[in-house]
C-alpha cells in the first residue's frame, strides 16, 4: 500500500468512527422520538375529532326527548364549535399559550358533554332509545380512547423532552437539530380528571 492512500484511509476510518459514535449521542434517537411525539399527537387530535363528530348526532337525539333542556344543549353545541373552530397553529406543540388554549377548549367540552349525559338520566324514554344508547357507548369509548391517547402522548413527550434536555442529546440537538424544541404536555393526566360526577 503506498503512502498517498493513507490520508484517504484515515478519512474513511474517522468517518466510520463518527457514524458508530453518533448512535449513542442521539443523532438518530432525537428524530425518532420527535416522530413518536408527532404520531402520538395526531392520535390525540384524531380521538378528539372523533368525539366532536359524534356530538351533533347526540345533541339531535337528546333534543328529541328533552327539548326543554335548551341551556345544556346550547352549551354543548357552543363548546363543540369553540373546540373545533379554532385553527391550531402549526407550532402548537412548542407554543405554551396555544397548547393551553387547546386544552382549555377541550376541557370545556368535557364538562358540557358530561352535563348533557347526566341530564339524559332524567328521561326514561331517552335512556331506552336505541340510537341514544349506541351513541352513548360510542362516546364512552371515545372518551376512553382520548384518555389513552393523552397518556401515550404524555409518555412520548416525556421521553423526547428528557433526551433533548440531557447530555449528550442536548449537545447533539443544539448542534444538528437547532429547530427542535421542548414539547408541551398535558397539565393533568386524564385519569385524575376522571372523578365521576353524580347528579341527583
Amino acid at each position: 500500500m503506498s503512502r498517498r492512500h493513507l490520508p484517504a484511509l484515515a478519512g474513511v476510518a474517522v468517518f466510520g468512527l463518527l457514524i458508530l459514535g453518533s448512535a449513542g449521542c442521539g443523532v438518530n434517537k432525537i428524530p425518532a422520538l420527535d416522530e413518536q411525539v408527532k404520531a402520538a399527537w395526531s392520535q390525540v387530535l384524531n380521538q378528539y375529532q372523533r368525539r366532536a363528530d359524534l356530538i351533533p348526532n347526540l345533541v339531535a337525539t337528546v333534543k328529541g326527548y328533552a327539548h326543554q333542556e335548551l341551556q345544556v344543549l346550547t352549551q354543548v353545541t357552543e363548546a363543540r364549535a369553540k373546540a373545533t373552530r379554532t385553527q391550531l397553529p402549526p407550532n402548537i406543540l412548542s407554543n405554551p399559550q396555544a397548547f393551553r388554549e387547546f386544552e382549555k377548549n377541550q376541557a370545556a367540552l368535557d364538562t358540557a358533554l358530561s352535563r348533557l349525559l347526566a341530564i339524559s338520566e332524567r328521561y326514561p324514554a331517552l335512556k331506552s332509545d336505541q340510537n341514544f344508547l349506541a351513541l352513548q357507548s360510542q362516546i364512552e369509548g371515545t372518551e376512553n380512547r382520548i384518555a389513552v391517547a393523552r397518556r401515550d402522548y404524555i409518555i412520548a413527550v416525556q421521553e423526547y423532552n428528557t433526551e433533548l434536555r440531557t447530555i449528550p442529546g442536548r449537545w447533539t440537538a443544539a448542534l444538528l437539530y437547532p429547530k427542535l424544541k421542548v414539547r408541551q404536555t398535558f397539565t393533568v393526566a386524564r385519569q385524575a380528571e376522571r372523578v365521576p360526577q353524580v347528579k341527583f
Binding site: 352513548q136 362516546i139 380512547r145 385519569q191 360526577q197 353524580v198
Partner: protein, 279 residues
Amino acid sequence: MRLSRSTTRRIARAVSAALAALSFLAAPVLAAPKFPALTGRVVDQANILSSSTRSLLTEMLARQERATGDQVVVVTLKSLQGYSIEEFGYRLGRYWGIGQKNKNNGVLVIIAPAERKVRIEAGYGLEGTLTDAESRIVIDRDILPAFRRGDFNAGVVAGVGSILTVLGGGTAPQSGLDWSTGRGGNLRDPIFWAGILLFGAEGVLFLMLFFIGLRYHPGRKGYILFRPGRSSRDPLGLAFLASAYSTGAHSTGGGGGLDSGGFSGGGGSFGGGGASGSW
C-alpha cells in the same frame, strides 16, 4: 372525568366509584400494574371458571384464531390494583401483545370479580368490527344477566360466543343493535342447545368407550377432564362438551386445543376501544 360512566352508574355504586377515582389520583401516571402471566387463551387468575368452561373457551378461541387470525383472550383478575378497568385493560393488552402485530386484531374479555367489573377491550384493528356499541350490547345482554345470578361460567361463554359471532364477519348476534335483554342471550338460542345436545351425545359415546376400556392414546389431554375432583366444579356437565371439542380438535390435527403452552400474543396493540359494565 369519565363523562358518561356517571350516567349509567347507579347511585349505590357512586361512593365506591369516587373512592376508586381517588385511588387513581394517588397512583402515578406511569406506574405499571402487576400483570398476570399469559398462560393461555384463558387466564383465570381469580379462579372463578370451571375447568370445563376453561377448556371450552380455549377451544372456541383457538378455532377463531385459526379461522380469522383474531386473538381473543379471556382473563379474570384477582384485583385491579387500584386502576380503572379501562386503564388496566389496554395496558394488559399491550403488555401481552394480543393480536397480530400489523393487524392489531386482539380482543380481551376482562373480568374483575372483586370490583364487580367486566370489560371488552378491542384492539385498534377490530374497532370497526367489534364496535363500542356492540361490545356494550354483548356485556348488557349476554354477560351481566348471568353474572348477576352469580353464574360466571354461563356469562363468559355466552359473551365470548357473541363476540366470536361478531368477529366471524356475520351480523351482530340477534339482529344487530338489539338492546332488549329479554332473550337472555345465546343460552336461549335453540341452535346453541342443539349444539350442546350433539356434542353431549358425542361425549357420552366417548365416555362409554372410555369405560369399556378402549383406551387408545391414553396420553390424550381430553381424559384429564374426567379426573375425579374436577367434576364438582362442573354443575352443568359441560365436561362432555369440552371433551367433544378436544377430541374434535385432535382428530383434525389443529394446534391449540387444550394445549395452552404454545399460545402467545402476536404483538398487537390497543387504544382504549371497547365497553365496560358492572354488576
